[in-house]
């Protein structure tokens, strides 16, 4: 069993670099074992305005000329990365589950998991490291 890092994203997508940095750092965990003798397992949790990263049909290519956060999230789901979305924050922003990114578009076997903040707190306690973005 290697180390687990929880990446907590609280900022909205685009014009804030943090969510993309969280995603790219999380993906980098899959090759971290070239530096150390153990595997590093990333887990992501979207909270507060960070849940806005998880809405599907993002059109960043058209408006900003950059790859969408949606595409990155789908790639992560296709890599079987565990990804949580805070249920309370989705409710606060009136975002229904059907508006969330669907990992199955990329053939992913896992999907975004809507969980209560209590569950995310438990992950913070359980993981070896927590990185806030």
């Amino acid at each position: 069993m290697g180390k687990e890092i929880l990446f907590v994203v609280s900022r909205p997508p685009y014009k804030s670099e943090n969510p993309k940095l969280a995603i790219t750092h999380a993906m980098a965990c899959y090759v971290a074992d070239i530096h150390i003798d153990e595997e590093v397992e990333p887990i992501m949790a979207f909270v507060a305005d960070g849940v806005l990263n998880c809405i599907k049909n993002q059109r960043s290519e058209a408006f900003y000329g950059i790859i969408s956060t949606e595409q990155h999230i789908k790639n992560q789901l296709a890599s079987d990365m565990k990804m949580f979305v805070c249920k309370e924050d989705l409710q606060r922003l009136e975002i229904k589950e059907e508006r969330l990114i669907d990992g199955k578009d990329m053939g992913a076997e896992v999907d975004l998991e809507m969980v209560g903040f209590e569950e995310i707190l438990k992950e913070m306690e359980r993981c070896d490291q927590v990185m806030f973005f």
């Binding site: 180390k3 890092i5 670099e17 943090n18 940095l21 790219t24 965990c29």
Partner: protein, 119 residues
């Protein structure tokens, strides 16, 4: 003694985050701890050579260059730096250039990880 990894995401100008992160890294190193300092996002601008001191702006070059001499591993994110036009040849001596896997590996094996700043 413990290992501390600090991820810094703020630029030189705009907040006191960078000043604080460098002071913290220095203080931890002085106490004998192992310190990894990672410049990512806008913090990569701190690693650029040729910064000039003006009285109206933060000037941290001396603090930054002193850290590797104290044993602090200072590294800059290659992709974040390149996105800002900062390439290896322009990075201050003593600061290494790595991809993110280096940092997450260091962080995974640290006793504490702190992220400071961000946009």
């Amino acid at each position: 003694m413990a290992t501390l990894s600090i991820g810094l995401f703020s630029s030189l100008v705009g907040s006191m985050n960078s000043d604080f992160a460098l002071k913290l890294a220095e203080a931890a190193a002085n106490k004998g701890h192992t310190v990894n300092l990672w410049f990512s996002g806008n913090a990569t601008t701190l690693a650029r050579k040729g910064q000039k001191s003006f009285k109206d702006y933060s000037y941290l070059i001396e603090k930054i260059t002193a850290l590797p001499e104290k044993g602090v591993s200072v590294a800059v994110c290659e992709a974040c730096a390149a996105a800002r036009g900062i390439h290896k040849a322009e990075v201050i001596e003593g600061i290494t250039v790595h991809s993110m896997d280096w940092y997450v590996a260091k962080a995974a094996q640290s006793d504490r990880v702190l992220h400071i700043g961000g946009e």
